[in-house]
């Protein structure tokens, strides 16, 4: 399916639940509300014509000026040879979202990474632990207002002059 055809098809499938980006912006992506996040991903992954069965990338971005964290899922369909970017925004304080690991098992590690670096906790995630930073690390480094701790287990985090 070409990307225009895919956009039209998804628009028809999901109706007014989606908000589409300005086509001038480059990539075509749709933004959904965080309550519909899991259901829409489920629909897009299982729908016969979309069949976006492959999660290429799943990441998050911090927007302190909007007080929101944006989650971005890059999906791809090997059978139909098309891809789609799905986004959602959640609040920074209560950073909670539904897990995608039931739909795409690859999301388990991606979600652990987002949890580790941005502090988003995912409901019903099978194994939500830190993946990159040590287990007893304080804070989530990719938040824009992150302040590094002074010492980690006795190692100073800044080089003494």
């Amino acid at each position: 399916m070409t990307s225009e055809a895919l956009i039209d098809y998804v628009k028809g499938l999901l109706g007014d639940k989606t908000k589409w980006a300005d086509p001038e912006a480059g990539d075509n992506f749709l933004t959904v509300a965080s309550e519909d996040w899991k259901n829409i991903c489920q629909t897009l992954a299982t729908d016969k014509k979309c069949s976006l069965t492959y999660l290429r990338n799943f990441t998050g971005t911090d927007y302190p000026e909007d007080d929101e964290i944006e989650l971005t899922a890059h999906t791809f369909s090997y059978s139909e040879k098309h891809g789609l970017i799905i986004k959602t925004r959640i609040s920074r304080e209560a950073a909670v979202c539904d897990t995608l690991s039931k739909i795409w098992p690859a999301a388990i590690w991606y979600e652990r990474e987002i949890f580790d670096l941005l502090g988003v906790s995912f409901n019903n995630h099978p194994d939500l632990r830190r993946i990159l930073m040590p287990e007893d690390w304080v804070g989530h480094p990719l938040r824009k207002d992150y302040k590094q701790q002074e010492t980690y287990r006795g190692i100073p985090t800044t080089r003494p002059a």
Binding site: L132, M133, P156
Partner: protein
């Protein structure tokens, strides 16, 4: 050698001679641990290869910390790895030496501002020799190993063994283990 005779109690001359022999043995059989944390490890492997043969000096690699004399910090050290490296260091048998190889192991280098990288191996290990470079060539690493040899030559080993084996500069970081 002269300095040692002056320092020591009576009979230190004999001890010094024996020390010379023992240090000759120790410096010519400096086994290093086969351990690399990042890209400098490629140069570490290269040092054992044909063009710059570390085996000429009697330096062979050992896979286990128990049998190695030198720990070469080859590459970027993250905080998560730091506790493992400290554990490996504690598992090594005395006497042991540490070489910080490359900018990252010296000061954090390119990744100094990163949230995950330790700003230098000397923040949690007693480093004996720093080798600059990104990565250092194998010649530099050999020179670093030869500096360790020079350090060994000057050590009063017998007296050290009888008195205190703890290095006073050793930062004792209890939380790491």
């Amino acid at each position: 050698m002269d300095a040692m005779v002056e320092q020591g109690p009576e009979g230190s001359f004999v001890l010094g001679k024996v020390d010379d022999l023992l240090n000759l043995a120790r410096k010519n059989s400096l086994w290093y641990m086969l351990f690399g944390t990042a890209c400098c490890a490629i140069e570490l492997m290269q040092t054992g290869g044909p063009r710059s043969d570390a085996d000429r000096f009697g330096m062979v690699f050992r896979a286990t910390p128990r049998q190695s004399d030198t720990l070469i910090l080859a590459g970027t050290i993250t905080y998560k790895m730091a506790s493992r490296i400290r554990l490996l260091y504690e598992q090594m048998a005395e006497p042991k030496y540490v070489i910080a190889m490359g900018s990252c192991a010296n000061t954090g280098g390119l990744f100094q501002e990163s949230y995950a990288v330790v700003n230098g191996g000397d923040l949690f290990l007693p480093v004996d020799v720093y080798i600059p470079g990104c990565p250092p060539r194998s010649e530099s690493l050999i020179e670093g190993l030869m500096l360790i040899q020079q350090k060994i030559e000057k050590e009063p080993w017998l007296k050290k063994a009888w008195t205190n084996t703890k290095n006073p500069k050793d930062p004792q970081i209890e939380g790491l283990l």
